[in-house]
């Protein structure tokens, strides 16, 4: 029965003989493990296409929605993290395999006559692969994406003569990154590059079949082998190894998603993706007017030289072990790349935001100013909740529903004597003022914190407020900047250090003008815990 179906298909389409023709390709006797990389690269592209389409099913390509839709994919959808992980790490592993493929072809001298065109098409494919990396980098629209792309477009703008036009082409007129840039990058990534890649792969494969797999000198006289099954087996195993590495990375390494792109964030330190780090470091070697040498001239020369290799090296094909010049060049390139990359990694200051900052849920109370936290404490301390039940309109208005619209002096009076039968307030004048500001101006985060903030942290915030720490320090966007900002203190200082620092600031921070604070051990514990609980 199966035979009949196959025969019918063969008769109508010729597919069986086409497959047999494809699998029966004669390959040189020397063909083997060193020639598996092209197949792996092809498979890597197919994986990227597959996962890319899946991502696009749930991704909204505009700056307004991109980040939240990606976050939705990763946090809300089952296996969304896996799909994005495959695409993200797959991109890196594809770059690796493409570069290894190029290196192998270069070392073996497989670009020589008559295979120059195969090499040229391969070079264009390399550039296309890098273009995927560049355009895809912006699409998560987190800080990393945004600031990384700012740097990229600035570099493009330095191209002599073409700079302004390149910028306009990238949709980044005047150097700013907005909706147009985003649309251009997305369109290039999913509409322009994939068909181009398929076309180029088609030509590349056609040329390989036309000229045959490159033999080793002395190989020509030996009997040929068939592509199937031995070489197919080797290609399959190599592909599987590549995929196994990818799968391991997806499982073991969390795919990054930072906070949403914030063009006003001046603290973010942009870094390109790891495979572009060497270019970034190269740039640092050239200063002032010479910068263009590192950003435009050298990369252009390098790419140009790679394109021209088949026309520069026109000697007869020799065995790979005898190609000392090529080996030396590859070694030099690898050392240069590794050195620059290592230097870039070593000189990168610790990031101000962790790679997966966008995936962590931060409780509302960790993000509101200390004055709001303290006001929540005063509200609780004065038993305001006896009448004002949050989320329910009862005896007194529900303050969670809408901010109070009473004038400040009414509120002050109300706090002093809330009701005829209520006990008088225990709050001081300053505390009453803080609470009055809070009930009139609270935002949604504060409302959420109102019912959920842990009492020990609320007490810490009340101490922070009583001791007027905000006169010198900034916390969650409120306060002065005389002293260091306190967000993310836990990442910088140990608990012990913070506790001792309160008693003798000058001893721990030479030159500090902070007065010493003598807290009871209970209070010291509360205020220290509160400060260490506030994230970056």
């Amino acid at each position: 029965m199966l035979r009949r179906i196959i025969d019918w298909l063969e008769d109508r389409t010729g597919i069986e003989s086409a497959i047999n023709h494809f699998l029966g390709e004669a390959i040189p006797h020397s063909a083997g493990w060193h020639q598996v990389l092209g197949s792996v690269a092809l498979f890597a592209f197919l994986t990227q296409a597959f996962t890319g389409v899946l991502l696009a099913f749930n991704y909204a390509p505009t700056p307004g929605d991109a980040y939240s839709s990606l976050r939705y994919i990763v946090t809300e959808l089952t296996a969304g993290r896996i799909i994005r992980g495959l695409h993200h790490w797959g991109a890196s592993l594809m770059i690796i395999v493409v570069v290894l493929h190029l290196t192998q072809v270069f070392l073996w001298g497989a670009y020589k006559k008559p295979r120059e065109a195969t090499w040229l098409v391969g070079m264009v494919l390399l550039l296309v692969t890098l273009a995927y990396g560049l355009t895809g980098y912006l699409l998560p629209w987190d800080n990393r994406a945004y600031w990384g792309t700012v740097v990229t477009t600035q570099i493009a703008s330095q191209a002599p003569g073409a700079g302004p036009y390149l910028l306009r082409l990238l949709g980044s007129d005047g150097g700013s990154i907005g909706v147009v840039t985003f649309a251009r990058f997305y369109a290039a990534h999913v509409l322009l590059l994939p068909p181009l890649t398929m076309l180029l792969i088609g030509i590349h494969l056609y040329l390989i079949r036309r000229h045959g797999v490159t033999p080793v000198p002395g190989d020509e006289s030996l009997p040929k082998k068939q592509f199937y099954p031995e070489q197919v087996f080797k290609d399959t195993v190599a592909t599987f190894v590549w995929f196994a590495v990818l799968a391991a990375m997806v499982v073991a390494v969390r795919v990054p998603l930072g906070r949403m792109a914030d063009p006003t964030d001046t603290s973010f330190i942009p870094r390109p993706e790891w495979y572009f780090l060497f270019l970034f470091q190269l740039l640092k070697l050239f200063e002032g007017p010479l910068e263009i040498v590192g950003s435009v001239v050298l990369p252009t020369i390098a790419i140009g030289a790679l394109f021209l290799i088949p026309f520069i090296d026109r000697g007869k094909a020799i065995r790979v072990r005898q190609r000392t010049g090529a080996i030396a060049l590859v070694a030099l390139g690898a050392i240069g790349w590794a050195g620059l990359t290592a230097r870039a990694v070593a000189t990168t200051p610790p990031s101000t935001e962790s790679a997966d900052a966008g995936l962590r849920q931060v409780e509302a109370w960790r993000e509101i100013p200390a004055a709001d936290m303290a006001a929540i404490g005063y509200f609780r301390k004065d038993n305001c909740g006896n009448c004002h039940v949050l989320g329910k309109a009862g005896e007194a208005p529900d303050l969670a529903k809408a901010p109070s619209n009473r004038p400040a002096d009414w509120l002050t009076q109300h706090f002093k004597q809330p009701a005829t039968n209520a006990p008088p307030t225990q709050l001081s004048g300053l505390q009453i003022k803080t609470l009055a500001t809070f009930v009139a101006k609270r935002d949604d985060k504060a409302v959420e914190a109102w019912s959920s903030a842990p009492q020990s942290d609320v007490e810490g915030a009340m101490l922070y407020q009583t001791n007027q720490c905000g006169m010198c320090h900034q916390l969650n966007g409120a306060g002065q900047q005389v002293g260091p900002p306190l967000n993310g203190l836990a990442d910088r200082r140990a608990r012990d250090w913070v506790e001792h620092h309160f008693a003798e600031p000058a001893k721990f921070s030479p030159g500090s003008t902070m007065p010493p604070y003598k807290f009871s051990s209970h209070d010291l514990d509360r205020i220290t815990s509160y400060l260490l609980d506030i994230p970056k």
């Binding site: 089952t78 082998k225 399959t236 592909t239």
Partner: protein, 161 residues
């Protein structure tokens, strides 16, 4: 050219078909889960306060308007929704979804006829939602409901009978 040994060839064939099989499964299973499983936040329903039970009169349908939040992919929308709420007796309350089960027109309560009438194709439903006349294929759909502290809560789930 010597033929490779049979067992080596068998091993090659096993790898050529087996390894891509493993890869395909590793890609297809996550893809299927990704496309077919409901998003996590939509798996648990939400409840909104819609009416005060003491204000409802027995066997007198009321059109109740309430605001509910609906999750649309990565967006959270707040929108107006309506329900026809009937207090059948002191224990039993139902909240009907406000669209006719025939083709989704908005129906209304006809005080004179004492039933729900759909203006589109004159389907009529009794006060307990049963089809009296017309093309409607099934009784009125109901919202999931709950009562709490004298309030009627309407859930996001719609029950079809």
């Amino acid at each position: 050219m010597s033929e490779p040994k049979t067992d080596r060839r068998t091993f090659w064939m096993a790898a050529i078909f087996g390894l891509p099989g493993v890869i395909s499964a590793a890609l297809a299973i996550p893809a299927a889960l990704y496309l077919l499983v409901k998003p996590k936040s939509q798996q648990k329903g939400t409840w909104v306060e819609a009416a005060d039970l003491s204000q409802l009169q027995v066997r007198k349908p009321e059109e109740v308007v309430f605001r509910r939040t609906r999750i649309d992919g990565w967006r959270v929308l707040t929108e107006k929704a309506t329900a026809w709420v009937v207090k059948m007796d002191d224990q039993n309350i139902v909240a009907y979804h406000p669209q006719c089960t025939h083709l989704g027109c908005a129906y209304h309560w006809d005080q004179k006829e004492n039933n729900f009438i759909c203006p589109c194709h004159t389907s009529a439903f009794s006060i307990d939602g049963k089809v009296l006349t017309g093309p409607a294929p099934r009784p009125l759909d109901r919202y999931a409901i709950r009562t709490e502290n004298g309030k009627l809560l309407i859930g996001s789930e719609i029950q079809k009978s």
